[in-house]
Symmetry: C2
Subunit: 334 residues, 2 copies
């Protein structure tokens, strides 16, 4: 089934079922109010949501209406934990080159992962408001999973079974600030703005045989200002999502509703398939031509990220966003 969160007056929005073809939706309210609540009691509510999804496919769900992605928040508008890996080796290798970073010695055996801010996640069509175009604004096309509660110490093969939903994401990065953050060792902070997510989260069965080995075996396509920028294949992930979850849970429990991202999708044949972020193209230019030629984003630029199935249908709907200059902050109450 496919699930979307439609904005309302509450910070967590209203959970809706969405039809497979993304044309219509129906409120999940008779069963559960929010996606966070659904994940917290998944075994109880998932069968009931599946029944409602079947009614929706048949055009007979109560409260049915057209699905409009612009009304959608992120499936989880705020998450108790958002962790993002760098699981595509081609991406890590290229960015180490461009940032002049020493490669971590265990990079092929231990996942690289940072703790992100999950308190302010953006919807698929939200503007991305940022303070300065001088910070090196970049998109990152990614995939991500939502897990239910994962106890500390869960091994990868069991961790895999905690995956409840899959998503696509745009993990906006500020590259001029990234090198500084990396060199502190304390991780990305100023260099990671709010992450955006695709219109719907889907259960793994929606992908059929394309979901196997804890990986999505389909390409993710990224357009920048209407031009195809890259179409790297997600099956090249160097670690499975089960391995990523197990790494995250090595010394801590993961709350239900924790999101774990793949990091930027990237393939070894990047010169053929293109990239899912600008930093990679700049790294390739640096290698091939001696200097980066492609500039980072300007205010007004748009990015579109989407995944199509074998038949060409959109699985998650499209992330389609503009980068805009943030308004100055308002003064607080006394």
């Amino acid at each position: 089934m496919k699930l979307a969160t439609i904005r309302n007056a509450t910070p967590d929005g209203a959970l809706h079922l969405v039809s497979r073809d993304l044309s219509r939706m129906a409120p999940a309210a008779p069963i559960v109010a929010t996606l966070q609540q659904a994940i917290e009691q998944w075994a109880l509510v998932a069968p009931r949501l599946a029944t409602l999804a079947q009614q929706l496919e048949l055009g007979a769900a109560p409260g049915m209406m057209p699905f409009e992605p612009r009304l959608a928040a992120a499936p989880l508008p705020r998450a108790w934990q958002w962790l993002d890996a760098s699981a595509f080796h081609a991406h890590g290798d290229l960015l180490e080159t461009v940032f002049g970073i020493d490669p971590p010695p265990e990079k092929r055996t231990v996942p690289l992962m940072y703790q992100g801010a999950g308190d302010d996640l953006l919807g698929p069509c939200d503007d991305i408001a940022l303070p300065s175009a001088d910070d090196g604004m970049d998109f990152e096309g990614e995939i991500a999973v939502i897990v239910d509660r994962v106890p500390m110490g869960t091994p990868a093969d069991v961790a895999h079974r905690h995956i409840r939903l899959l998503m696509i994401a745009n993990d906006t990065s500020l590259r001029v600030l990234a090198g500084k953050d990396l060199r502190t060792g304390f991780g990305f902070l100023n260099s990671k703005a709010s992450t955006s997510f695709g219109p719907v989260a889907v259960t793994p069965d929606e992908l059929g045989p394309a979901w196997r080995d804890g990986r999505i075996h389909l390409p993710l396509q990224v357009h920048w200002n209407g031009t195809l920028f890259g179409r790297p294949h997600c099956g090249a992930m160097g670690f499975s999502f089960g391995e990523l979850i197990a790494h995250a849970a090595r010394t801590r429990n993961l709350a239900p509703g924790t999101i774990i991202g793949s990091g930027t999708i990237s393939n070894d044949d990047f010169r053929t398939v293109g990239s899912a972020c600008i930093a990679e193209r700049r790294a390739i230019e640096l290698i091939d031509e001696g200097q980066p030629r492609t500039a980072y984003m300007a205010f007004g630029d748009r990015v579109r990220i989407e995944m199509l199935d074998e038949a060409g249908a959109s699985i998650f709907g499209a992330i389609d966003q503009a980068y805009v200059r943030a308004a100055p902050p308002a003064q607080p109450h006394a």
Copy 2:
């Protein structure tokens, strides 16, 4: 006023007012259910909570009962964002020595801060369950603030006005894993277990003149297995909390209920006042004696962290916890 969250059947617990002397409490339920909800509408609920707090001081609050810290969860049992700085320069300098880390070039002008996991915060008397004593288990005595919504780009002097509550914390660290996390550049992940917080969060006015310049001007005392380990002064913080909040909000909004920690309290005269974590003592031993002599914690060890006012009364109540071996993880549902 002083606020505690008492465990109930919900993940966010039940907000209670606590008397200044920490002897009794009364439910805040007639006004607001949880601390997260209170922070989200602080201007509305704070005056009403203050009235209830006055009634409690007079012994006339509805539902009044003795305050028992063992029933308390963390004031925010889960937080949408938990950020922790390293704002005491003596701590950073010592740990760079022991871990052989190159100091960040801007360490006196730009705060060091990492994104922590806020989804599973521990109460003041909760056991700290960890997988292995070989990971270098260490406590870290800290102070922290809770802010309401902070818009992106808020400067330090305005950020200061978003501070609603103050807390004490024990930021458990796994030192054997920390060097590896630092060297990836991606920040602390496996090396930071769930953070614990003191029994009550207090409004800044509770500290009187000890709260000034965005700092708490009182010492924090740390006992390890009943022996005083350190009593460093919190006034030595190298950055104010206003500066820490502004740094965190440089490229992102902070959701109401975001927690920002100071990092381990540490003073330049560490040989006199002692330390708030074991890693520092080991660093001092390394400098003075050529090798660290003090071992990290063993299962069964206890830590007690508390802050007393000038008259010797406990402000936040005591963090008093045992470190125990975690049970193996349960299998997930199908």
